[in-house]
Chain length 142, copies 2
């Protein structure tokens, strides 16, 4: 799979996401890029569309946010699993081949032509669970 060069806007958006510790919404990205000349949501969404199409960025459907791919551009695009901590907002991404096979097998048996698989887990990460004496340390992420 080739990875085309990024345009200026795409690159700005991608690096904003890469630098972030948590997923960002399109409007947060917009705010962060005002100084770079961004002035409209569409500039962000257009860049995101491209980046998502190239699997360099993933969209987290359940929190309307975007995150840079953790796998240096994953190819097993069909089975990325995201564990989203509702406390600190951090996300771990992992690719689960077994799960992917399972889902694909179901689709085949049901005649469903699979375009995209979304798997998102919501809960509390280990770090936050250990943090039981610091419950108020981080703001709550929805």
């Amino acid at each position: 799979m080739t990875t085309p060069e990024l345009t200026k806007n795409q690159s700005l958006v991608f690096h904003t996401l890469s630098d972030a510790k948590t997923p960002l919404t399109a409007y947060v990205i917009l705010e962060q890029l005002r100084d770079e000349g961004f002035s409209s949501p569409l500039q962000v969404y257009r860049a995101l569309d491209k980046l998502v199409g190239q699997n360099r960025v993933h969209r987290l459907e359940s929190i309307n946010s975007f995150v840079a791919c953790a796998h240096e551009c994953c190819t097993e695009q069909a089975a990325a699993v995201f564990a989203i901590c509702e406390k600190c907002g951090k996300v771990s991404e992992f690719a689960d081949a077994k799960l992917a096979r399972h889902v694909k097998a179901w689709a085949r048996s049901d005649g469903f032509q699979l375009n995209k698989t979304t798997i998102e887990l919501r809960g509390e990460c280990q770090a936050c669970s250990n943090d039981c004496y610091n419950n108020e340390k981080n703001e709550k992420h929805r």
Copy 2:
């Protein structure tokens, strides 16, 4: 698990969803219930919150829509899988115990306390695939 009685608004929203052939957005539900006295999105969202909390209704994150549970109120809430046809908009819901076990096992091993699992498949259902001579019959659902 007990299934509390529904209030008037909850019941109206639930029956609207039960009667629908596809998932509905909150605002579509609102339009359908104007005649019943609904006038504000909040009336819909409040009812939906309750219904989702009781697992009588599921929220489809990837299409911002809601659908009545296909299992007469499913209890295996952690592993509902939704296959969403992007052509006709219909959804099939199925509960996959193996997949659920798999996900739970991962969460345990990673110290992630799982609150909710979202698994949504996007693609084209068998009926629509067979429909290759009627491509324009149905409007495209995102």
